[in-house]
Amino acid sequence: MNDGKIIELFFERSDEAIIELSEKYGRLAISLARNILGDEGEAEECVNDAYLAAWNNIPPERPSALGAYLCGIVRNLSYSRLRRQSAAKRRPEALIALDELSEVIPSSESVDGAAEAKVLSDAIDRFLGTLAADDRAIFLRRYWFSDSVSDIAARLNRRPHYISVRLSRIRGRLKKFLTNEGITI
């Protein structure tokens, strides 16, 4: 079923909406939550919460890209949950990926986190626009979906080493891009 029809089901307040959403994007959403949380059970809970949030928000919202919309909710909920679990001393894939990215983003002492995040977000958007589609996919699978290097390699039918090298080069380009734009966080 295409996204438009699923959204129509939400607008009709039909239970089928959740079923179809789950059919189409459930696996992706679980994978994302699992990468961030490192735990299957919690990932499932998180995705269920995301379905409820989607149900509550559509309508009035009418997302242009339903999969990205659901994943955005899952990602936010997963990181919220992860923050609450900081004492558990886990090292899920998401934190490993974040450390990689953190190394190439220049630091500042500013305390206005929200404003800085917006500036950085816009800059990353522009940077992504300069990348080829496959590089963009590799970057986002690693740092947005928190996929492991091995998973990305399997997905793209490439060797893990190839993906690691590509990521390293993309991070290098990002660092140069941000430096040229004078962006620090």
Partner: protein
């Protein structure tokens, strides 16, 4: 704090890019460079060194290569990680992809020393309690061969429903450690387990319950003295069910010694992705060799059985006739032994 800002910044990027990445898949054609036999041999060596290998990196073409080859230096980045099966964390991959450190777990109680663990199993598969043990956990750094975070923890062991405890069981810690929970069931498997024949393997591992066939298979045949022709076939539910039925019923005696010539001396082979989680392998492969052998390859090693050329031909034909052809590549990785 910096990470929080990055999380927030990434959350605000254009949804079109997210949608693109969510659905992105490579073009199906074109030559792909697969891992060379040297690299794979190194992976195998690393795996042996680690003692425990959650890291199941038997790439698609390992059997056609020569496992005895000398590793090249500086290639440990090929080690992969199925992180979703880890609980408690502690495993760390460097940005280059190399496994830097991992928590290793061994039971120190006498009689169980050969059991190791890397992943968990769902509670519904947990059977009766078998006893109490002590587990030695430590954080091992591969790069400089050092151990830290050592701890001895008490735990209870339980049968995995239907599975012979001599092969595998699960364990729940009764005290909290650095990198694990007291609520999950960690599968421990016996590194020394072996099987008389396929019946013995299936019975020992409760294959009726835990065995499943994945959604694709790769057919390989040498294209020249140095290259191999690979074709991947998608397996729909009916075909996967047919293959499961064959694997759950076919007879075959175990071959004692693993011999790479089994692979290199056959004209073609089929690799099928399977799962048999009760032996400690979330992912494994079954290789069907045209010369009548069936190989079950898990992270515990290789189990080779002779099932006869009629049966291997039947399986290969079944997949080639009914599978959905997904891609075809010729790669330069085939190396027949001198």
């Amino acid at each position: 704090m910096k990470n929080e800002k990055i999380i927030e910044a990434l959350g605000g990027i254009d949804p079109r890019y997210i949608a693109e990445a969510a659905e992105y898949s490579p073009a199906p054609s074109g030559v792909r460079v697969r891992p060379s036999h040297r690299r794979i041999a190194l992976v195998a060596a690393c795996a042996a060194l680690m003692l425990v290998t959650l890291i199941f990196t038997l790439p698609m073409m390992m059997p056609l290569s020569t496992p005895e080859s000398t590793p090249e230096s500086g290639e440990i980045e090929l080690v992969g990680l199925w992180s979703e099966y880890l609980l408690g964390g502690g495993d760390k991959i460097a940005s280059e992809g190399a496994l830097v450190e991992a928590w290793l777990r061994n039971i120190s109680t006498e009689g169980y020393e050969r059991y190791e663990s890397r992943h968990t199993i769902a509670p519904e598969y947990v059977g009766e309690k078998l006893g109490d043990v002590e587990v030695y956990n430590r954080l091992y750094r591969y790069l400089d061969d050092t151990v830290s975070g050592e701890e001895y923890l008490d735990a209870e062991i339980f049968r995995i429903k239907g599975v012979a405890p001599a092969v595998s069981f699960c364990l729940r810690y009764t005290e909290q450690g650095e990198a694990l929970t007291t609520t999950h069931y960690y599968v421990f498997y016996n590194k020394d387990a072996s099987y008389r024949d396929l019946d013995d393997l299936r019975a020992s591992l409760a294959a009726e319950t835990y065995f499943s066939v994945g959604d694709n298979a790769v057919y390989a045949t040498p294209a020249s003295s140095e290259t191999v022709d690979l074709t991947r076939y998608g397996l729909d539910e009916d075909l996967a069910a047919s293959l499961s039925e064959i694997f759950l019923t076919v007879d075959g005696e175990s071959i004692d010694r693993f011999d790479s010539s089994l692979f290199t001396d056959c004209r073609s082979q089929l690799q099928i992705n399977v799962s048999l989680i009760s032996d400690g392998s979330p992912y494994a492969h079954v290789y069907v060799l045209e010369n009548g052998h069936l190989v079950y390859a898990s992270k515990n090693g290789w189990e080779v059985f002779f099932i006869g050329t009629d049966r291997t031909d039947e399986i290969i034909r079944l997949v080639r006739r009914n599978g959905e052809k997904q891609w075809n590549n010729v790669t330069g990785i085939y190396a027949k032994p001198e």
